[in-house]
């Protein structure tokens, strides 16, 4: 039984089909990447898994229990954390307070939450900025904050939505290392990415989405050579 099982997931917006008949598994401890051109439906799938949207059809199972249609906060409580493509920091709060909010999901009190928050911020290189207002952070730090906050909720599955966008290669590599470490510790990661550098470095499996449908699902090497994938990204007349 895979940690996350998605079966025949479908979603339309006012007649426009965003996702159609998507099915895939994410095994426990794996790092899976979801890629595809803009508008392919990746974030829509995330939003359905995370409870922000209700699927029009299909099932989502997490740890063998059905979670489709549940509220976002219930899904977080079940063990799934997520980041947002456009980061949503609690701008008026300090960086530390932001992460404490996440840590309070499991911590019995504020003091314990604070300890956990500091530990996570240490891992993500945010400890030095703990008292700064979140609004004053640079974009890369905001992304780290987003990840730290989601991690603080103690998820077993982490959904990362384009976390690498806008980061310089060195920053990207740093974050990749953090994720690798977390995965070694048992965290399962499903990530949406455009930055191929990160995808190739992290992902054990890659799922390719195009026009709402899954057109490929395999190891990075397999997917990169798949003619259907090449066609959708680069157009028909391309030679590898």
């Amino acid at each position: 039984m895979a940690l996350l099982e998605v079966r025949s997931l479908a979603k339309s917006f006012r007649g426009l089909r965003a996702v159609a008949d998507a099915s895939f598994d994410v095994e426990a401890g794996a790092i899976v990447a979801l890629i595809g051109p803009n508008g392919a439906g990746k974030t829509t799938i995330f939003n359905m898994v995370a409870g922000a949207y209700r699927p029009d059809g299909g099932e989502i199972r997490f740890e063998s229990a059905r979670i489709d249609g549940r509220r976002a906060d219930q899904i977080c409580a079940a063990g799934i954390g997520r980041t947002f493509q456009i980061v949503k920091p609690f701008a008026g709060l300090s960086v530390l307070d932001n992460v404490i909010v996440g840590a309070l999901r499991h911590a019995p009190g504020v003091a314990q939450a604070r300890r956990e928050a500091l530990a996570i911020m240490e891992r993500l290189g945010l400890a030095a900025k703990r008292d700064q207002p979140a609004a004053s952070l640079t974009l890369p730090d905001r992304k780290r904050l987003e990840v730290a906050r989601a991690l603080a909720t103690g998820p077993r599955l982490l959904l990362l939505d384009e976390v690498m966008a806008g980061l310089r290669p060195t920053e990207c590599d740093q974050l990749v290392e953090v994720f690798r470490e977390l995965a070694r510790g048992g965290l399962t990661i499903l990530l949406i990415e455009h930055v191929m550098r990160a995808v190739m470095a992290l992902a054990q499996r890659v799922i390719v989405l195009h026009h709402g449908e899954i057109i490929a699902n395999g190891t990075p090497d397999e997917v990169v050579r798949d003619p259907a994938v090449l066609e959708c990204y680069l157009g028909e007349e391309t030679e590898v």
Binding site: A52, A72, P89, D97, V101, R114, A150
Partner: protein
Amino acid sequence: MSAAPRADSTMAPRAMVLLALLAAGALVLPHFAGGYALSLATLILYFAFTGQAWNVMMGFAGQLSLGHSLYVGLGAYAAAALFTKFGVGPWAGVWLAMALCVAAGAAIGFLAFRFGISGVYFALLTIAFAEFTRIGFDHIGWLGGPGGLFLKVGERTHVDLLDLRGTPAMYYYVMLALTAGAFALCAWLLRSRAGYYWQAIRENEEAAQALGINTFRWKMLAVMISAAMTAVAGVFFAFYYNNLFPEQIFNIGQSIEIILGPIVGGVGTLFGPILGAVLLTWLADTLSNAVSALGWNIPGVKQVFYGVVLLLVIVYLPNGIWPPIARRLGIGRRD
């Protein structure tokens, strides 16, 4: 660059010193103040208290209520009715008052949050409920209707704490205790899980949900606590002024007076509502006296003053007067 915000759970030492000074001054005030100054001080405390109560909903949870007079009125009428019709004293009556207001707040909150009403629409909803109740109470003959409900005034020299009849000093101390209690409650709440969750909801509700916060439940809690606290203010109002008129107590003007202190002082802070109440009430009173001293009798001066101050604050110091002062004093962001 402003001082970094505090993230630890204890109040800054400087804030504690400030608090101690305020407390000391407040405790000995009746000794030095004459009758008029004492009643003004009581009024200031009343607005500091209601402002603090309103602040829980707005400053903490981010829900703008412009109909808080509803809770003042319901609380006042509940306790007053129990006293005048059944002889039940305020210490027992306050529980009914709180229960009634919590129910009202819960109803409004439920309707609003379930139906996804927020922002300006939520504010309008709160106004509508207050106005509806105002006109409704005008038609309740049993409670005096538009003619008002009156409590029998006791002797001003004899202190009857049980029925809240007594000297001006007694009322002052009761209100002081209530305000101190509200301050302590809000300080505790702000640093608790509730405080963190409310501020998260206020800053970005969607992100808060993604972190496992049941935003509906927590917003409801803010509304209910705010309503309960305001109910207590209503009970005090009834036993202090001894007369209640629907037109006056449920009036939207009352609701606006309640929000002035926190907005001018600083929404979401602890000292803000107190500072705002002190400043506004004292200045408005000084202004009124100056105008009468000049021999003019112009109704409306005080309100224009309030309006102008509100305008200036919202344009130039939208976070209120307290934050820049706090920075100067070296006190933390959230105090």
